[in-house]
């Protein structure tokens, strides 16, 4: 699998993403500069990493969403290529219109860094096939604005089309407000695009791929993408 990690000014979890791709998928991703207007040829997966692109000034992801490389990312997505936006990457995807909805301030108004439970809602996407539907995994979050909001119509569509990939949950998959770390509508942690080839996800699977870091629950996401790409090839 050929992957590329986009570096925006202010990105800061790109090294974590690079390491996870190397450890789980077995190949070193290319790092692409935000000012580039093309992706390396043959790219299968583009990762928009976590961080504070442009300081998260104005609105999270707003300025990055309008940088030259995003036209290339849009083209890649239109052609069916995989795009994974983690945390700030998710915010950028929403701001650029590649995914619907917005990410607002956390309901408790504070940045939150902790490990949360995530329920895998559906195992038919490239980003979830590494897990079983209904499986609960544990992955860290680290964000101040991850409170997903969408209007009723969008939400109905997301639910109906099986586009909600991950939800915040309790140890046994319970969807209770106390497990909903940031107050997101319908406990949404991650959604996919209409064609299921773009995922926006607030939590950080890339930080849970090594036993030494306490858990390997994040590996399934990367392994699933690898499998998807190798099958397609």
């Amino acid at each position: 699998m050929k992957s590329a990690v986009v570096l925006f000014p202010g990105s800061n979890r790109e090294r974590d993403a690079v390491r996870a791709l190397r450890l789980v998928c077995g190949s070193e991703p290319k790092v692409v500069w935000h000012g580039d207007s093309e992706l390396p040829s043959g790219t299968d997966l583009v990762v928009l990493p976590g961080g504070f692109s442009y300081g998260d000034y104005l609105r999270c992801g707003a300025i990055a969403a309008r940088s030259p490389v995003m036209d290339a990312v849009r083209k890649h997505a239109d052609a069916g290529g995989l795009v994974l936006g983690i945390c700030n990457g998710f915010q950028i995807l929403c701001e650029s219109g590649l995914l619907p909805g917005v990410l607002m301030r956390n309901a408790q108004m504070r940045f939150q860094c902790r490990v949360v439970g995530l329920r895998v809602e559906n195992s038919d996407t490239p980003f979830t096939r590494g897990y079983n539907a209904g499986q609960v995994i544990h992955i860290p979050v680290a964000h101040g604005e991850g409170n997903y909001e969408a209007d009723a119509e969008t939400l109905t569509r997301l639910e109906g089309d099986g586009r909600i990939a991950y939800r915040y949950c309790g140890p046994n998959g319970e969807l209770e407000p106390k497990y909903n770390i940031n107050g997101a509508i319908a406990s949404i942690a991650g959604i996919v695009s209409e064609k299921h080839n773009v995922l926006g996800l607030m939590p950080h699977p890339e930080n849970h791929v090594e036993e030494q870091m306490g858990s390997t629950d994040g590996r399934g996401l990367f392994a699933g993408m690898l499998e998807h790409v190798s099958r397609a090839a």
Binding site: L58, R66, G101, R105, M109, E149, G183
Partner: protein, 79 residues
């Protein structure tokens, strides 16, 4: 030329920040506040003296970047 673009959340959108401020004002003993909603204001210095041109540029700025029109409204004022 001095101009202002004011960006506010659409009324239908929940404003957690405004709610938090409402609560904080109550606990600080500031009385009589029924509700608070928080928005952004951009004070912009525009080059040149053509008001119509400035207004067009500011609208463009708001549509392209300053506001997320999915959740926000904006208003442009030129002095």
């Amino acid at each position: 030329m001095k101009a202002r673009v004011t960006v506010t959340l659409k009324p239908s959108i929940l404003d957690p920040q405004g709610k938090a401020i409402e609560g904080a004002l109550k606990s600080l003993g500031v009385g009589g506040i029924a509700s608070v909603r928080q928005g952004k204001i951009f004070e912009i210095e525009v080059e040149g003296g053509d008001k119509a041109k400035a207004e067009a540029a500011l609208k463009q700025a708001a549509d392209k970047l300053l506001a997320n029109t999915v959740i926000e409204n904006y208003r442009v004022e030129i002095e």
